[in-house]
């Protein structure tokens, strides 16, 4: 099958450890919590992080009801990479959006199913959001939505998105906000999910530590004498340790190099960098206020997760959180007057800037300071996609939904991105749902594969088993249609027919009009999902295995 890619040269050997991506303290809600160990070697029964059961998503349009997803079920375990393959229009992206409830509400709606993320039903409350009334004489449906409920549910999803389930999208060039700089957007993600840890670090920092002078000189000497980057980085880390601030390490590293390169004396530069750690009273109060707000936000997230888990809703607790939040904001109002907001916020902005530089380092970007300062329109697609991956992973989510991240990029960049994702997966241990239509990519990246066709999962298997022994006729057709370089005279084969219209999909098994093995029963009933091997399930009447238990 796909040959191994050449040894990657993109990932420089002196890349720093990804500790800047990992949280230092045990984070709050929505993070992995336990140690990010390497992915399971075999089909060991690790904890299931995402359990999608019988997901149905319909789109209500002028032409009728598009049944985009009609009973999709799959599971993702901790740390594993699941690939999702299918043609264009089979519902892969819709699945990813449904999991985080990003389906744009008119015209789409999730009408059925359960999505359990770590035991919490993400689709809690969705049945109360809308009422359906079919219109006579056409295949249209009138949907009456309750905006209040829709809004409340969307607000609740804030607890899951980002910190629990991260997403990266298909078109990187339009995925970032064009008017904010890269560091601004990375900083936003950092503050949302790791703000408490960042502010704690800032408050704990010791800018007046007397040992700093010695370490500064050591750093300057190392850079001047042209020591290898590894050593310089280690010394910079020592600077960070001395000052109790990891972002100072990054800042010291880059500012020293820049100062020496432009011929200036680096020591005053380093001293000037310390200014942001020396917090005035106004700035300290601002930081404490923000810390309190973040803590309250986390409490709210816990309460939301609780609600999604078992449906209990503690009015009193919510009210108390809201009241405390209002009180904190109100009390912090004097800060706006006294310390004009930009002045109060400056240390936080600088801290997040250098933290985002550290993030970009972790993604092996060559000149992170420049990239952090630049705007999205100045960067190439591959670079932006890397930034998006950094942004998604900085929140340390349990699951990363990658919706065709490499489709819009050319092949060489694709190779770099895939290598990056593989490396990150090993180090950080996030489970991934990798959606693509490219089987070669799946072979590279995935451990298990789901094959989708017209809104239904037709086969699930470990990747080797799928490539060695595809069971479903559609998977067989897909694999057979890959051109073989070693058989140049063989005619290209394809699956006859075309993708069905999802407004009036075929009855029974949706693949039966194109299937070479179609039987009369295929037209009448939808085939159940049966287990045919170790972790290998298929939905086809050709196989008479045991019906899979949800």
């Amino acid at each position: 099958m796909a040959t191994a890619l050449p040894t990657p040269t993109t990932f420089s050997p002196d890349a720093p450890s990804l500790s800047s991506i990992l949280p230092e303290t045990t984070p709050g809600v929505g993070a992995a919590g336990t140690s990010p160990g390497p992915s399971a070697a075999g089909p060991a029964k690790q904890a299931v992080v995402l359990d999608v059961r019988n997901l149905k998503t319909y789109f209500y349009t002028y032409d009728g009801v598009v049944k985009a997803l009609d009973g999709v079920s799959f599971k993702i375990r901790r740390g594993e990479t699941v690939g999702m393959v299918g043609e264009t229009g089979c519902g892969k992206s819709v699945t990813a959006f449904s999991v985080t409830r990003l389906i744009s509400d008119p015209p789409g709606r999730i009408v059925g199913g359960t999505i359990l993320y770590r035991g919490a039903n993400v689709l809690r409350g969705i049945d109360l959001e809308a009422k359906f009334k079919p219109m006579k004489g056409s295949n249209r449906v009138k949907v009456r939505r309750s905006f209040r409920r829709v809004k409340a549910n969307q607000e609740r999803m804030m607890a899951v998105r980002g910190g629990g389930i991260g997403m990266i999208f298909q078109e990187p060039t339009s995925a970032m906000n064009p008017i904010f700089s890269v560091s601004n957007q990375l900083g936003e993600a950092l503050l949302l999910h790791r703000g408490d840890e960042i502010i704690d670090a800032m408050l704990r920092a010791t800018p007046h530590a007397p040992e700093r002078r010695a370490v500064f000189e050591e750093l300057v000497e190392a850079v001047r004498s042209g020591q290898p980057t590894e050593t310089v980085r280690a010394i910079a880390k020592k600077v960070g340790d001395v000052l109790h601030s990891p972002s100072m390490a990054t800042q010291a590293f880059y500012t020293t190099r820049e100062a020496i390169a432009s011929g200036r004396d680096p020591l005053p530069v380093l001293e000037r960098n310390l200014r942001r750690l020396r917090l005035g009273r106004v700035q300290r109060s601002y930081l404490i206020q923000q810390r309190r707000l973040i803590a309250l936000q986390n409490e709210l997230k816990v309460s939301y997760m609780q609600e999604m888990r078992d449906g209990t809703f503690d009015h009193g607790e919510r009210r108390s959180i809201r009241r405390r939040r209002l009180a904190t904001r109100y009390r912090g109002g004097w800060l706006q007057i006294r310390g004009i907001r930009r002045h109060a916020r400056r240390p936080l902005d600088e801290e997040t800037f250098w933290r985002s530089v550290g993030l970009l380092e972790g993604i092996a970007i060559a000149n992170p300071v420049q990239v952090a300062r630049s705007y999205p329109h100045e960067l190439s697609g591959g670079m932006i996609q890397r930034v998006m991956i950094a942004m998604a992973l900085s929140a340390n989510p349990d699951i990363l939904l990658a919706d065709e991240p490499t489709t819009a990029l050319d092949v060489t960049i694709q190779a770099q991105i895939l290598e990056l994702m593989r490396d990150l997966k090993e180090r950080v241990g996030t489970a991934t749902l990798f959606i693509t239509h490219d089987l070669a990519v799946i072979a590279e990246v995935a451990e298990r594969v789901c094959v989708m066709y017209a809104g239904q999962v037709v086969e699930t298997a470990p990747v080797r088993d799928l490539f060695r022994q595809p069971l479903h006729p559609y998977s067989q057709g897909l694999l057979a249609s890959i051109p073989r370089v070693d058989q140049p005279d063989k005619q290209l084969s394809s699956i006859k027919g075309s993708v069905p219209n999802l407004i009036t999909p075929p009855t029974g098994c949706r693949f039966h009009p194109r299937c070479a093995y179609a039987m009369p029963i295929c037209r009448e009933q939808r085939p159940p999902t049966t287990v045919e091997g170790v972790e290998h399930t298929v939905a086809c009447f050709l196989y008479k295995g045991q019906v899979a238990v949800e």
């Binding site: 744009s104 804030m158 998105r161 705007y375 929140a395």
Partner: protein, 399 residues
């Protein structure tokens, strides 16, 4: 650097526009009959003949000799010169602010609030009344921005809900209510309400909103806040430093008068703003709806950003760029509301001057001068809008 290039390029594009506008006014002025132009510049001769021919000096019964008044006028105004020369002269005069003089037969001197007479240069006449218009314009613009942008964002975020319907009604009625009708009705309503509640025996005070008018022709002291006019005002209006009534009153420490003037400007500002809010509100809403469908909004939501921040910060700032461009385009329509509103409320401004000058006697100096002035204002506004746009959008700022 890129920003300055962009700004300079946009400004250079405005030069042909200014030349074009002046050419159009030149064409229109040339279409005026010579008799009209002469009558407004030169005093009518004692004989009363204002035609090209008049009675001959030697033979009174004949009347086809050239009228000396006419020939004098034609030679001074250069009406027989070749057209390109006339055009060039007109251009030169316009650019050096030599815009002619007020019609000699103007009735404006009967209006006590105007201190200029026939024969004075048009520029000084316009300069006297321009500050009032500018004050009104400032308050109007503030009102427009403060109402239309937040309301447009809210409408887009809560599509088809009550607030969207309400803003829709407001924007539609803004198109449908002519400013003269709206202004008159509101003025009537407010005056009757205020008069009824204050028990004034006459509506003169409430209904004479003109700063200069009621200071010049005040019948009784009770119209002033506080009772008596301030001394600096009673002597000489022109001693005020800037010409802006509110600023001047504040400069002299008369806060009550300054506040009073501002309050009197709120209603006309609202009437002018109403029409512009109508257009802008719909546009803000539609551009917000477009922006909210873009990819980066979805990314922000997927990051876990709270919905309010997604709408206000991510989507709102982006739609602001487009809104500002449209604001520049609607400036021309915004200015159109001035003549009517100033006439309805009796404010001394350029618009009212224009309205008074187009009736007989047709004072073409003031008419064309004020049209040129308004056009320059529109052009200046467009430049400011371009600068703002360049500043706000990093794609332009950085290239």
């Amino acid at each position: 650097m890129q920003m300055w290039v962009y700004i300079v390029r946009r400004t250079l594009l405005l030069i042909p526009i200014i030349i074009g506008v002046m050419t159009i006014t030149f064409i229109l002025i040339s279409a005026l009959p010579t008799g009209l132009r002469c009558v407004s510049y030169f005093p009518i001769p004692r004989s009363g003949d204002i035609g090209p021919t008049g009675p001959c000096p030697g033979n009174p019964t004949q009347s086809n000799c050239p009228n000396p008044w006419w020939t004098h006028c034609v030679s001074v105004l250069g009406l027989n010169n070749p057209v390109p020369l006339q055009w060039a002269t007109y251009m030169y005069n316009s650019l050096t602010f030599n815009w002619g003089t007020v019609n000699l037969n103007s009735y404006l001197s009967t209006h006590t609030e105007y201190t200029f007479m026939g024969g004075e240069p048009v520029t000084s006449a316009l300069a006297q009344v321009l500050p009032y218009t500018l004050e009104l314009a400032t308050i109007s613009l503030l009102l427009i921005l403060v109402v239309s942008i937040p309301l447009g964002n809210l409408s887009a975020a809560n599509r088809n809900r009550p607030i969207d319907q309400a803003s829709r009604v407001m924007s539609f009625s803004g198109y449908a209510l002519a400013p003269f009708l709206l202004g008159s009705l509101l003025l009537m309503a407010f005056v009757i309400l205020i008069g009824a509640s204050n028990g004034w025996h006459s509506l003169t005070c409430a209904a004479s909103p003109t700063y200069l008018e009621f200071y010049h022709s005040w019948p009784a002291n009770q119209c002033f806040p506080g009772g008596n006019p301030p001394s600096w005002l009673a002597n000489n209006i022109v001693s005020s430093p800037t010409g802006f009534p509110t600023v001047d009153a504040a400069y002299h420490g008369q806060w009550a008068i300054a506040a009073d003037t501002l309050i009197r400007l709120i209603l006309p500002a609202f009437v002018i703003a109403y029409g512009s809010i109508a257009g802008l509100l719909r546009y803000v809403r539609n551009s917000m709806l477009e922006v909210m469908n873009l990819d980066f909004v979805r990314t922000a939501r997927a990051k876990g950003v709270p919905e309010a921040i997604v709408i206000n910060r991510h989507a709102g700032r982006n739609s602001l760029n487009v809104t500002i461009t449209v604001l520049g385009l609607t400036f021309a329509t915004f200015i159109s509301g001035f003549p009517v509103t100033e006439t309805v409320f009796g404010l001394t401004g350029v618009g009212r001057l224009l309205a008074l000058s187009i009736n007989i006697p047709f004072d073409y100096g003031i008419v064309f001068g004020s049209v040129l002035l308004f056009t320059y204002l529109v052009v200046a506004a467009n430049i400011i809008v371009d600068v703002l746009y360049a500043y706000l959008d990093p794609r332009v700022r950085l290239g």
